[in-house]
Symmetry: C2
Subunit: 388 residues, 2 copies
């Protein structure tokens, strides 16, 4: 067994992967060799999904066939809708999503099958199940019925129509398409790694996505997304941003190492395990946050975000991450804070499936060891032995 | 980043832990320093749970208080029962369990809280929720109602009464108690590691247990349990065991490396990532399998198991693992093959909670890296650029 080790498996390689390349020093991210900023908006999220799953961008005929396959999978399963209708109103959207995907496994036409063709069919169904569940759950919580037979030629337009019940403008659909592409994959982030740990036992694809959603919820991963929007809304006024950051950093300096782990002790949207400089996705999202804020008139939140960003740059070396400006874009799209992580999942499910399929294609059980730091072998205390 | 790495994180240390020590060379297993074979039967599963969670065996008063706390948490939440009643009859028990625990999160009185006291309350509830769900799900599938207000002084007796609707004999309750203790923890096995990956994002305890159940399902982990019992029942006659093993190993030799990964290409119950010799738990279970088979008269299955064991020892160096003889004990307890992994979960939930609580007490995001083996950075093909 190794004797040197890194807490949190930092910089430790867990497996080979041909899907996603992260260059933390340069702040660059590639899907199958294509820089994510070049892909976003140039090709559709559906094409990006096909790229992640199959290794190459589809040609026009393949792209059309793949998009048609996704459209054919549309439709929230009735038992999942029934489940969502019976959840308490204050159920966290990610708890609802996790339970819904877990339930859908039992109703999947390929339940029990674990061959490559069945897994691909399941992956296609999971791509539509996730947004259908997110949207239906949100509407039901607001006292509205899920949207019946929504249209939407693209996946982005479909997702927005699922949420709002009306055809989105091409520009709005394009914004969501870009957001989904930017969130589609990120190597062995915690949720994707959890998906790989699950399927490495030869558990099925739904199990992998359930494990991923369970892991995504934490504020150290997807949960940070909603913390950003909640923080920006709490600050509210650009003039208050600097003092807020100052206060938060000052309070943090007084905390113990353990207390600093609490989400409330951080400025969410900054810092990342892998990146040393601003994240490539954050750069695209910052520009998009500015233009969408201008288009929707919600410029105040963007200004708050800019001031927080400047205040953090002046005081820390923490790079801005994907969560920060995406929160402003979500707000412009009318997405409330507690739904941000769900929208993250709508994009990331493409990557979860890509990694689950890649893991299954050349599998090895993922089973690390612990450094044992507990008591040495010891005999049972006398009173227990007396009971044998 | 490291350049050398081990597939499946084999022998790689992922974190410190004071809970469980596995000595793979000697085939020994310790919970907090106590050898598992000495604990099993000498102290109750409830005391073992307290040991795993708090670090020391409870004194008599503490043990009584902890057992009372577990009893006070009893009672299947009504929404979980409703869910189980609506699942398709052929739902895999672990899919039902995973969905039920995920749903219970939304109904938990401490939903949203993530402080140590709330997490301990959740852990106590999860200890009873898992067997209640397993038993109710099994009964409902068989067209029977869940047992109303079951008694059972000990956890083992409670679990058996939940399943059968009648008070078990002290000897049967003791057998289950020992089985639960033997399955209670096993360091960073895949499901426990998944639980730690989930909570390391600061996701909640239910999320951790859901990720663990999702991971447990695979035949490379808990799923192997049911494969053993199915195999022994398929062999049926001790006289056929040797030929069966011979055939399976012969067929395996002709397979490609990839095909050998399939569960059907293995003799389940043999081989382990960590152990090089017979597993300590297997030794206890083998003795118990013999005595329970004698007591219940189901000696034929034990004889089949013994023959398979001898045939494997004569032909391979693979050690026997915990799954093999536990299958015979499960059969003697009247547990059908597809419920074996659920009973595994009834014991292992103690360890999942112990590890989740330990991870949260000194947390670090678990986020490894991939060795990227895909295409080098490349420009978008012309047709895509034309569409921008």
């Amino acid at each position: 067994m190794e004797t040197a080790w890194k807490a949190g498996l930092e910089d430790v390689i867990a497996a080979r992967s041909a899907i996603c390349q992260v260059n933390g020093e340069a702040g660059r991210l590639y899907y199958r060799g294509y820089e994510v900023g070049e892909l976003a908006g140039a090709v559709s999220f559906e094409e990006v999904t096909a790229l992640l799953w199959f290794g190459e961008l589809p040609g026009p005929a393949e792209a059309a066939a793949f998009a048609a396959r996704l459209r054919a999978a549309r439709g929230l399963p009735a038992p999942v809708r029934t489940l969502l209708e019976t959840l308490p109103r204050d159920t966290h959207p990610l708890d609802a999503l996790r339970t819904a995907v877990s339930l859908a496994a039992a109703h999947d036409p390929d339940a029990g099958a674990n061959d490559p063709a069945a897994n691909l069919r399941k992956a296609v169904r999971l791509m539509t199940l996730v947004p259908e569940t997110v949207a239906a759950s949100r509407r039901i919580r607001a006292g509205r019925a899920p949207v019946e037979a929504p249209g939407g030629d693209s996946h982005g337009a479909y997702v927005l129509e699922l949420c709002e019940g009306r055809t989105p403008s091409p520009e709005t659909a394009r914004i969501l398409d870009v957001v989904l592409t930017l969130h589609a994959d990120h190597e062995f982030n915690a949720s994707t790694f959890a998906a790989r740990v699950a399927v490495a036992t030869l558990a099925d694809l739904h199990a992998a996505v359930v494990a991923a959603i369970a892991t995504l919820k934490g504020p150290r991963q997807g949960g940070a997304n909603e913390d950003v929007l909640a923080m920006l809304l709490e600050i509210g006024d650009p003039a208050r941003a600097e003092a807020f950051v100052e206060r938060r950093l000052h309070a943090r300096a007084a905390l113990s190492k353990h207390e600093r782990g609490a989400p409330t002790a951080r400025v969410p949207g900054f810092g990342h395990r892998v990146y040393r400089v601003d994240d490539a996705r954050a750069r695209v999202l910052r520009a998009m946050a500015k233009s969408t804020a201008a288009a929707t008139g919600r410029t105040r939140l963007f200004e708050v975000a800019e001031r927080v960003y400047d205040a953090m740059r002046a005081r820390t070396t923490l790079p801005v991450n994907v969560d920060f400006f995406s929160a402003v874009v979500y707000d412009a799209l009318g997405i409330p804070p507690d739904l941000c992580t769900s929208i993250f999942a709508v994009g990331r499910v493409a990557g979860w499936c890509a990694h689950a399929l890649e893991q299954l294609a050349d599998n090895r059980l993922i089973r690390p060891r612990a450094e044992y730091v507990g008591p040495a072998p010891r005999p049972l205390p006398a009173r227990s032995e007396g009971r044998r």
